[in-house]
Amino acid sequence: MKVRVIMAMIRKEFAQFFRDPANIRMLIVMPVVQLLLLPLAADYEVKSVRVCIVDSDHSPLSHELTAKIAANPHMHVGCKAESFEQALEGMERDEIDIALLIPAHFERDLVRNQNPVLSASVHAVNGQRASVGSQYLLQILADFNNKVRMNWLQLPKFNPVPLVDITHTYLYNPRMDYPSYMVPGILVILLTMVGFSLASMNLVREKEIGTIEQINVSPVRKSEFILGKLIPFWILGLVVLTLGLGIAAVFYGIYPRGSVGTIYAFASLYLLAILGLALLLSAFAQTQQQVMLVSYFVMMIFILLSGLYTSVESMPPWAQMTTHLNPVAHFIVVIRMVVLKGSTLSDILPHVGAMAAMAGILLPLAIWSYRKHF
């Protein structure tokens, strides 16, 4: 491999890249817009759960329960239906999320210790909303239950009120704010999309305009060619990362708890794998449309199975297995670990190993697949 040859290729790529103002806009505007807009939109906090209470008891206790639910900041007690059917109709119209039925004789049964049954029906089309909403409601009911037992029942020999109360604190992201969680993940997606699309489109464009033949008839080695195509986009990828980390700090006040160096080190390795894959795919495409379509497909799978939106732990086992082969998933885990938890290089070692293995397979494969003659 000759450094002079690779340098000639890198200079040429940069000259072409910066000649086109559209490229520069894409490099700067895309990260800014994505990082400013997406974290705001991708907010999973369920702020207001609309509850409809069907009170068939009309007792002081049932009123107390209603008031308690209404007092919760996350709950919004909207309608007061006369019957359960009526409440379900409201759910049909998408007006309520949970219908809670307080049965007749609720108070009497409770006091007599006859275990009255409250039934809650949850609108589960939006799974996130349903699970978080019913969580809230269960907490309120459990709390209510304890109070009732304390106040109304005679104390038995054994205290039925648990002495140990389970509470939870969120470690690493104490305020549970979404930007801290989403911004690093979106930064990974951004880096991936910019690097992947620029590199694959670039190589295939040379095939389309025919300049690749002039390179193929020259003594350039396949490894020199692939490195000459990879290094410029590797550098641009790190520029995007820098820009993104800057935006995260300035606009969201997110400063990595761990070392920025660790992030750059992992990103460098990550870009080798991703760009290797991009160049490998471009070896088989003849037109920019083809490579775009294939890239879109690959990116889509990588991103949806990356754990950016849905946590990897809640995926079915087979899907969890695929994340080991998904470079995007590794980087998202790593960047969240470093930014939120302050993890160090030794903590992320398994991911570094996986990424090195991917780069170590994809890059030689890209070089091997590139054809200088047909």
Binding site: R4, V5, M7, A8, K12, Q16, V217, P219, H373, F374
Partner: protein, 245 residues
């Protein structure tokens, strides 16, 4: 003739599926020749040239170029040849100088040699003042001249030119061929394809390709005498008619 042939092809054949693009062609090209490959579009000229320059593999037959085998030593061939493709091969979004630097660089020229050759070349092309102009803005004739200049930047002993004068006006075409003759006079060998019959007269020897086969081979004088025609155009039409196209 003088020394070993620069190109020696024997029964060289290339098929694309059922289509035989080049059908058992055999010929030799000697050092210092301007060898012409004449033929209609689709006669197999470009395919033959691409096989000889290591861009595509032959289906069968043998060819030795500059002493290297086209099957096993195509990269060695690529080190020693220049190639100007039919499609315009310079980067239109780069300047003249950026193109020269890129192609010089991938042939491993050092900075000193590169700037020296670039200067010589730009002076000869009279493009010294346009060196930082985008190639896109040049007229076709100049672009082709520049493409040739870039193809010989590393001073190859053998240059392949695939229809170098396509879409170029007659005056620039004449200049172009004079320049090629100049390069040959320096002791180099040029292998050029063309479908302009008048250009065949510049060649020291030429072969006429019809339907993937060599229908005639010799110097322009020999061919005129042998086939009893006045110019290459007439020869070509006769050959095309006799092989049934």
């Amino acid at each position: 003739m003088k020394g070993n042939p620069v190109i020696r092809a024997n029964d060289l054949t290339r098929r694309f599926g059922n289509f035989v693009a080049v059908d058992r062609i055999s010929f030799e090209v000697h050092p210092g020749e301007l060898f012409g490959f004449l033929g209609a579009n689709g006669a197999g000229k470009t395919t033959a040239m691409r096989m000889l320059s290591g861009l595509i593999r032959p289906t069968s037959g043998t060819a030795i170029v500059l002493g290297y085998d086209v099957y096993r030593q195509s990269e060695a061939i690529k080190r020693s040849i220049g190639y100007m493709s039919q499609r315009f091969s310079l980067y239109e979004d780069l300047t003249i100088m950026e193109n020269i630097r890129f192609y010089g660089g991938i042939y491993g020229l050092n900075a000193h040699l590169l700037s020296q050759r670039a200067d010589e070349m730009l002076t000869q092309l009279d493009l010294k003042h346009q060196r930082d102009q985008l190639v896109r803005s040049l007229p076709t004739g100049w672009r082709q001249k520049l493409a040739f200049a870039v193809a010989i930047l590393h001073r190859p002993r053998l240059v392949f030119l695939d229809e170098p004068t396509g879409g170029v006006d007659p005056i620039v075409r004449r200049e172009f061929w004079e320049w090629i003759l100049d390069y040959v006079a320096q002791g180099n060998t040029v292998f050029a394809t063309t479908h302009y019959m008048d250009e065949a007269e510049y060649c020291s020897r030429l072969s006429v390709m019809v339907n993937g086969r060599i229908a005639a081979i010799g110097s322009p004088l020999e061919l005129r005498g042998h086939f009893g025609v006045h110019d290459m155009e007439e020869l070509f039409l006769n050959l095309a008619a006799s092989t049934g196209t």
